[in-house]
């Protein structure tokens, strides 16, 4: 816990320059700065326009399939013998993860702005698939940058994107993973300034992206609030979500930040362990500046960005959204971490007890639920965000469990 004075509200950020405390900001090349300002203006206008919200609601309901259920995980609750565990079922969304909530918002915004060419970065491929999907739906050109290493280990998603009509560009620069895909997307944007909209997949990048992506994902927490009131007549006692960049987590957390009775846990990927290769920026990083914002980063003594490692490609990023960095320093959210092995164990338990194959990302959150829930009383209401489904991870999991798929 930090000794800093806590604000009256945790939900008012960022300020007009995009800062959450010292984090966030707009650290981009001059070429992009006018575009970032144009985006901010367009987003403010859309936010104030009932027609934009009506479109969001229509497509959320009929295309994505919202609201996603809040499901009482009865057998997992019995097995762990403590808190009453609920799953927020984001894995049931169209395209199989929470990513589509944000992409819908950004694509509707791109249409308002008259942008015909959409670019995106992707790690595991979930954001790329969601972007390719909505571009197909609205007839927009779609280019997805993906690290060459990730293209190799996420082949089914590359094929899905191709089927949806998107062009997947394997990125050969740097470490050939998510951070390099983001560099390459920024290089594309700086080159194609007139017609291109950069659809960022998480609560990172320059202002207004971290706030905008959060707003689009906050539907997760808003629904959870209502659904829990309906199911139990009161707010939950704790929330748990996994964090790479942190969009599913902030989406669940944000509507509850000012309900001080609600304990909040963000779970980073500890990879092989925090003293070995990992992707836990808050636990193992320091404040720095990358990809348009100041946040906690994994880096060396000289400020050179280090490789992240996680079994989950979706958490394999050396930074974290700036709002999480701030919430960490403020002590409002407890940031903890789960290793590759812990996530694999949680994946298997959830699959067998609940008949739900969670993605490896939320398996990290489930791993910590397994640790925290047994220590809580039976009337403690705990919500874990099942942010994606595990189908995409079956090859990785089979390899780690030394089993053949066919």
């Amino acid at each position: 816990m930090s000794a800093q004075t806590q604000p009256n509200s945790f939900r008012t950020g960022p300020d007009e320059r995009g800062h959450f405390g010292i984090f966030g900001g707009r650290f981009v090349a001059e070429t992009l700065m006018p575009l970032v300002l144009e985006l901010e203006k367009a987003y403010e206008a859309a936010k104030a326009d009932p027609a934009f919200h009506a479109d969001m609601e229509y497509f959320s309901k009929h295309y994505i399939g919202r609201p996603s259920p809040l499901y009482f995980a009865e057998r997992l609750t019995e097995h762990l013998g403590g808190a009453k565990i609920y799953f927020k079922r984001e894995e049931l969304n169209h395209t199989g993860a929470h990513k589509v909530n944000n992409v819908l918002g950004q694509i509707l915004l791109a249409r308002r702005m008259g942008k015909k060419r959409i670019i995106a970065e992707t790690g595991a491929g979930q954001h790329g698939v969601a972007t390719a999907t909505l571009c197909a739906r609205f007839g927009l050109e779609c280019i997805v940058y993906m690290g060459a290493v990730d293209v190799e280990r996420q082949k089914p998603n590359v094929f899905r994107m191709n089927m949806l009509g998107a062009k997947v560009v394997p990125v050969q620069s740097g470490t050939k993973t998510l951070k390099d895909a983001m560099n390459e997307a920024l290089r594309d944007w700086v080159t194609n300034v007139a017609d291109t909209f950069y659809c960022i997949g998480t609560v990172a990048g320059p202002h207004p992206y971290p706030a905008m992506v959060r707003d689009f994902q906050a539907v997760i927490g808003k629904e959870t609030r209502e659904q829990m009131m309906e199911a139990e007549g009161r707010l939950p006692d704790s929330l748990v979500a996994c964090i790479g960049g942190g969009s599913n987590a902030i989406g669940l957390f944000h509507p509850f930040l000012d309900d001080r009775s609600v304990e909040i846990y963000g779970v980073e990927a500890a990879g092989h362990g925090l003293h070995k290769l990992h992707a836990a920026s808050l636990s193992g990083g320091r404040p720095g500046v990358l990809h348009g914002n100041r946040t906690y980063l994994l880096m060396d003594r000289d400020g050179q960005i280090q490789d992240a490692h996680s079994i989950s490609a979706g958490l394999d990023y050396p930074g974290i959204g700036p709002e999480h960095a701030w919430l960490h320093d403020m002590g409002r959210v407890n940031y903890i971490s789960a290793t590759d092995d812990e996530a694999l164990e949680a994946f298997q338990l959830c699959s067998k007890l609940e008949g739900i194959l969670p993605a490896l990302e939320p398996s990290h959150a489930l791993a910590k639920v397994m640790e925290i829930a047994p220590k809580k009383p039976k009337d403690h209401l705990m919500v874990v965000n099942i942010s994606g489904r595990g189908d995409k991870d079956l090859f990785t999991i089979a390899e780690h469990l030394k089993q053949d798929i066919v």
């Binding site: 992009l32 620069s173 194609n192």
Partner: protein, 280 residues
């Protein structure tokens, strides 16, 4: 406070020509070779030298400079060592302006205040930090100006007349016009459009305006020199150097010479365009 830069532009004006500004990466392919290259540049015709601070994630740079940075990092180049190379350059050359160019994170991590003191002491004259637009002036630009280092701003084709005053406000030394929307070492610009853009910027500032991105040859340099006060060349020099490296990216006996040969060509290009000498 930017005396070396001002004196050098004044000298070029007296000679009735544009300035040649060269960029190479510190520590590429190894510290000693990069220092040898740096020292050779003014002798080959460079008026101002930019030294790149290596960074793992240079989001505005093309493949040539990305690879240069990674080569330098691979042999252990860091900010301390880069400042040390500049100190050694400065021991022999007190006149050529040295501009450090890079990204903010290594500077932020070094500590802004300590960095500015050390850079000034090492003999740095100015800074170009790609990911610090005027919106983030508090971070480094204003402290740099206070320390007496020029903060050289990039103006781009997307910087319209409305925005230009904000971009120029805290700029010192010179203005760097980015000739294209794009990354370094990519497309060659339309030189006619570039001249118009320089003209537009000059309406807003008395500072010299130099042009970079996409300049690869003496012919290009001459074309840019017609409209601008200076020409910046980076990726082409790095490409020339890289062509001489062995299979393990080590320098060979041709490495320094490959750079100086191209710099001589660029210098001739710049000098082939006669500009009005300053009336004063």
């Amino acid at each position: 406070m930017t005396q070396r830069i001002e004196a050098r532009f004044e000298q070029c004006r007296q000679e009735g020509r544009a300035a040649l500004v060269t960029y190479v990466m510190a520590g590429d392919p190894d510290p000693e070779t990069s220092l040898a290259i740096l020292k050779s540049l003014p002798k080959a015709g460079a008026d101002i030298v930019e030294f790149g601070l290596p960074f793992t994630d240079p989001m505005a740079d093309g493949p040539a400079i990305q690879a240069a940075g990674l080569r330098a990092l691979k042999v252990g180049q860091d900010t301390d060592k880069t400042l040390d190379l500049i100190r050694r350059f400065r021991a022999e050359d007190q006149d050529t302006p040295v501009i450090l160019m890079g990204y903010f994170n290594p500077i932020y991590v070094y500590g802004v205040d300590r960095f500015l003191v050390d850079a000034k002491e090492a003999g740095v004259d100015g800074l170009i930090v790609v990911d610090l637009p005027p919106e983030e002036d508090d971070e480094l630009c204003l402290p740099a100006l206070k320390t007496g280092l020029a903060f050289i701003r990039l103006a781009t084709p997307t910087t319209d007349d409305h925005r230009l005053p904000a971009v120029l406000k805290n700029t010192a030394g010179f203005v760097y016009y980015v000739s294209i929307t794009g990354i370094t070492g990519a497309a060659t610009p339309d030189f006619g459009k570039v001249a118009t853009a320089v003209e537009r910027i000059k309406h807003h500032t008395p500072l010299p305006v130099v042009v970079g991105f996409g300049v690869k040859s003496g012919v290009h340099a001459a074309a840019v020199a017609k409209g601008a006060d200076g020409v910046v060349v980076g990726s082409a020099l790095i490409d020339a150097m890289k062509g001489t490296l062995d299979a393990d990216d080590r320098a060979t006996s041709h490495t320094v010479e490959a750079v100086t040969t191209l710099v001589k060509e660029l210098s001739e290009g710049v000098r082939s365009v006669a500009k009005k000498a300053a009336a004063a």
